[in-house]
Amino acid sequence: MKIPISHRSTQRQQRLFFLGMLVLFIPCLFYLDLSYGQFASGLERIPDMARQMMHLSFEELPKMLRELLTSIIIAFLCVVLSVLISLLLAFVVARATTPNRYVSAALRAMIVIIRTIPTTIWVLLAVASMGFGPMAGVVGLLLPTIAFLIRVFSDQIDEAGRDTAEAIRSVGGTWWHVVCNGLLPTLLTGFLALIAFKFEITVAETVILGIVGAGGIGVLLQGYISFYEFAPLMLGMLLVFITLFLLEMGTNLIRTKLAGKGSK
């Protein structure tokens, strides 16, 4: 007889999980009523679309660059404002440093609510209330960005800050001493890496959110798509790709630099 090697209940759980997925998959497939004819005709159009896309037109380049810059600036303003607000609130939310448990719990609940509503909807709300343009972009992105940053900051404070907080408290330091003398020096490099990461994500988001009217290059892309202008669309997509690629490289560089210096 073969000797069993796996952990019984883990194996059973995993099998049950995959079985459940399979059982759900079949009714789902029929529910959507996917049309294969549509798929096939779409395939036929690809060569034609590709041909049009190959005609790169640089006519719109200056306009696109200007809008791209707007996108990046929207993201930058939004991240800077969010950092200012969340840096303080994170210490109020984190369990290791909160001055009041009920305030912390209330803020936590608010963050959960903000984060369960997709960013696109926040921006749509902002657009609906203050009209199209960059202002709606900044305001709409603000809440989800703040919520994200508070969440990741406070997690780091709870994870790494308990001992330090205790040390400063034991010498009779105030809350501000715990935060400014103990925790910020310890956590700041980690925070900077998170901020760089969030900036990168936010730029990508502003491009998409431009499509719903939040200003920036997304607005132009949306226009090209609705009028089937594939040539400038291609250029726009290329620009976005290059920007995000460079940004990714840049933030990676910042992150490894910061992580390397604080070797633990």
């Binding site: 040390a167 009779g172 105030t174 001493h177 633990k264």
Partner: protein, 263 residues
């Protein structure tokens, strides 16, 4: 003379099942060097942390220099804490700051939020901090980052931070539990010598009975949240030790054994 620290019927209940302290009474006079011994989970740590209220006691009273610690309000509690130095098992330094800044943190309890936040320590405080570091043999490490130091060096910084407070009481929670025997000796010597010299009373949690006997002027044995021995080291006979570590003998022996090997 009124004792420096007077603990009466102190209890701490973490939850219904877990009682850490089951009514501890203890008076500590000025100048004593008290070692608290007992197996892990006996409540040594909770006892020490209740004294400066890093842990909130459930009932009982703690009087330090005539102030009722368990009733102290925010500002009062800060003043109490400023006069009690604490040394941690895991050092609890701010590892991204310099050694000197870590020692200066001992002054924060005597400073306003604003002055502390912007690290505006007085020149006199800085000189004193450097003097303390020299005394424990860290004169070459003053401007190093705290994470560059070895364990024994980190703990000496911890001692300097506590001394910088100019406290009347020092609480040391397992200060040598993470150190090798040689570093342990340096750390205990530094702690003992400085306390004696400046007349600081000291309460040290220790795992190692032999270390407790060598350094302490008084030993308190704790078992299951109760004081089961309280007296000078000379009176701590084998019978008491066996009683304190009953059922957990391996903890006591394993430590004495490893010390025997490396010595």
């Amino acid at each position: 003379m009124e004792p420096l620290l007077s603990i009466q019927q102190l209890t701490k209940q973490y939850n219904k099942q877990h009682t850490a302290l089951a009514g501890i009474s203890l008076d500590v006079s000025r100048g004593e060097f008290v070692a608290v011994i007992g197996p892990s989970g006996a409540g040594k740590s909770t006892l020490l942390r209740s004294i400066n209220r890093l842990a909130e006691p459930t009932s009982g009273s703690i009087a330090f220099e005539g102030v009722r610690v368990e009733q102290a309000r925010k500002k009062e509690l800060r003043q109490v804490r400023a006069n009690i130095g604490m040394i941690f098992q895991h050092y609890n330094l701010v590892y991204r700051l310099s050694v000197l800044e870590n020692v200066l943190h001992g002054r924060l309890g005597h400073m306003s939020s604003f002055a502390g936040m912007f690290s505006r320590y007085s020149e006199a405080d800085k000189e004193e901090a450097i003097r303390l570091l020299r005394k424990v043999g860290l004169e070459n490490e003053i401007y190093k980052r705290a994470d560059e130091l070895s364990g024994g060096q980190k703990q000496r910084v911890g001692i300097c931070r506590a001394l910088a407070q100019k406290p009347s009481l020092i609480l040391a929670d397992e200060p040598i539990a993470s150190l090798d025997p040689r570093s342990s000796k340096i750390v205990m010597d530094a702690l003992r010598a400085n306390c004696e010299e400046q007349g600081i009373t000291c309460l040290v949690n220790l795992h190692q009975v032999d270390v407790a006997k060598r350094y302490a002027t008084r030993i308190v044995g704790i078992k299951a949240g109760k004081v089961v021995f309280d007296g000078p080291p000379s009176e701590l006979h084998e019978g008491y030790i066996e009683h304190i570590y009953e059922g957990k003998e391996h903890e006591q022996f394993s430590i004495t054994n490893t010390e025997g090997i490396s010595a």
